[in-house]
Symmetry: D2
Amino acid sequence: MATQMIIINGGSSSGKSGIVRCLQAVLPDPWLAFGVDSLVDAMPARMRASDEGLEIGADGGVSVGADFMALQAAWMRGVAAMARAGARVIVDDVFLGGASSQRRWRKVLGELDVLWAGVRCEAAVAAGREVARGDRVQGMAASQADVVHDGVVYGVEVDTTHTESLVCARTIAARVS
Amino acid sequence: MATQMIIINGGSSSGKSGIVRCLQAVLPDPWLAFGVDSLVDAMPARMRASDEGLEIGADGGVSVGADFMALQAAWMRGVAAMARAGARVIVDDVFLGGASSQRRWRKVLGELDVLWAGVRCEAAVAAGREVARGDRVQGMAASQADVVHDGVVYGVEVDTTHTESLVCARTIAARVS
Amino acid sequence: MATQMIIINGGSSSGKSGIVRCLQAVLPDPWLAFGVDSLVDAMPARMRASDEGLEIGADGGVSVGADFMALQAAWMRGVAAMARAGARVIVDDVFLGGASSQRRWRKVLGELDVLWAGVRCEAAVAAGREVARGDRVQGMAASQADVVHDGVVYGVEVDTTHTESLVCARTIAARVS
Amino acid sequence: MATQMIIINGGSSSGKSGIVRCLQAVLPDPWLAFGVDSLVDAMPARMRASDEGLEIGADGGVSVGADFMALQAAWMRGVAAMARAGARVIVDDVFLGGASSQRRWRKVLGELDVLWAGVRCEAAVAAGREVARGDRVQGMAASQADVVHDGVVYGVEVDTTHTESLVCARTIAARVS
C-alpha cells in the first residue's frame, strides 16, 4: 500500500524544514507539506504570546495553553482528512510530549499508512544553527534536542549533525512506498 | 447555530489578508485562518511555475493545472474536516471560476454552517495596491477584480475601495453567530 | 538641480513602505530605497530587544539606546554618501524626535538636494491598519501618529487616511526635479 | 589598528548569511551587516527581472545590467562611508567577476582596514542546500561555487562543506583586531 503521510519529528533547529523541502523535490509525486510553524501562522496573532496560546520563555522553553491544544487537535484531524481524500502529506512537528505526542497523532490517523521519521541533531550543533538563523530564541534547540524523541517509535531515523538535508531526505524517501 | 466557517472571496490585492487578520483580532474566539496563499506554500516549489501546478503569466493571468486541482480538492476536504472537528475556520480564496468555485466548496462543506463573505475593490484601486505591495505580477488585480464574484452568492459583502480593513472585518463579524 | 534624495517621515503604519514602492515604480529613474526597518535588520539580533539597541514596550512605545544611535549616525552618513556618489535615494524614517530628528539628518546631508515628504494618517486609521498587518505591537501607530511631525518642515505632505499609496506617491513624484 | 570592515565572498548557498548572523552574535561590538541581497531589495521591483537590472536565467546564471552596476557602485561607496563614520560593517557579496570584483571594492575602500574572508563550499553540497532552501533557482549554487573565488586574495578562508556556520564565524572572528 502506498505511503499516505510522512510525519517528521525533531527539535527546533534540527533541520526539519530543509528536509521537508528536499523531500518535496525528490519525491516524484507532489506532496503537500504542513507543520507546527504553519499551524502557528494560522492562529490569531494574540495567541503567539499568551497563556491560552503559545508562550516562548526567555530561555527558549515552550508552553502551550488550552486554546492552542484544542485548535491543534482539530488541525490534526483536518490534515489526516486531506490524506484520506487522496493528497500525500508531509507533516513536521515537535513532539514536546515525546511518546504521548505520537499517541495523540495515532488517534487521528486511524488506518492511514504513515511513515514516522525521526530527525536528530546533537544539541550543541542545533544550538549553533539556532544562532545562524538569527530569528529564534536561544535555548530552544538545546532544550528540545532529546526530549522530543523520548519513547517515540520511528520507521526511519536520520541525523543532521554530519549529514546534509538532501541526503537525509533521500534516506527517508527510500522508505516511501 | 454557531457559524463554523467564514469563506472570504475576492480578487488579488482586494484586501482579503488584512480583513482576515482583523477578523482574528475582533472575534472573541480564536479562529484558524487558511487560504490559497498558504495552500500554494504547502506545495512543492516546482509546482509554482509549471503546467501541472500554478502558472502566472507576464500579464498576471493565472492558470492552474491538474495536480494543483487535485491537491486543492483534498485540502478543501481537510479544511472542512477541521471545522467539523471543532475549530472555527476562516478561509480566503480567489474564485477564479466564480459560481463554479463556490459549488466546488459547497460539495465538501455538507452540513457546516458557513458565512460567505465577498470582498470587492474597484479594479483601478486594487491595481494601485498591487504596485504598493511590490511583490506581485502587475495585472493580476485588475484581471480578477470582477470575474471572481460572477454568480457567487454571499451572506455579507464589503468593499475595500473606500473602507478600511478593520471596518470591513467588523461588518463581517457582525454576521457571525 | 536634480533631486538627489527623498526623505519620507511618518509614524508606524502610516503607509510609508507602500508609498516608497509606488515611488520606485512611478519615477522613471531607478531609485534605491532604505529605511529604519532595513537599518534594524542590519543590526545584530541581540540589539532588537536591549537597553543599548531598540526596545519596543508592551504599549508600542519605542526607545533606542546608545549603540543604536551610534550605528544609525554612521548609517545616515553612508546613505548620504550613496546619494553623493550618484545614486538617487529614498529614505523612510520615523522622526521619534520630531524637528530634532530632522536636524540630525540635515547635518549629514550638506549640499545634497533633498525633498522632505511628510506622510500623515489619522491615529485611529493607522491603529486599524496596525491590526490588519498582524505583526506589529499594538499602540505604536497611535503613539507616533502626531509626535513624529512635531516641528518638521516639509517640501510636500500627503495624508493616507483617505488617499491611496499610489496617488500619494504621484503627489510626491510631481515635486521631484 | 581595529578592523573596520569584513567582506565575505562566496557563491550562492555557500552559507554566507548564516556566518554573518553568527559573526554578529560572537563579535562583542555591534556590527552592521549588508549584502547583495539587501542591495537587490533596495532596488525597484522592476529591476529584479530586466536587462538593465538583474536577470536570473532558468539555469541559475546571473547577469547584471548597466543600471544595476551604477547603483551598486554608489552603494559600495556608501557602505565604505559608514565604516569611515565609525560603524563596524560586515558585507557579504558574490564576486561574479572574481579578482576584478575585489579590485572594484578596493577602489572605494581606500585606507580602511578590511578583513577579506572567503567562504567555500563544494559545488555538490551547495547545490543540495539550494534544494533545501526551496526559494532559489536551481543551478546558481553550482555555477558560482568556484568562479567567485578566481584570483581573489583573502585574509582568512573557511569551508562550510563539513564545518558549521558558527565554527566558521569563530575562525573569522579570531582574525578581527
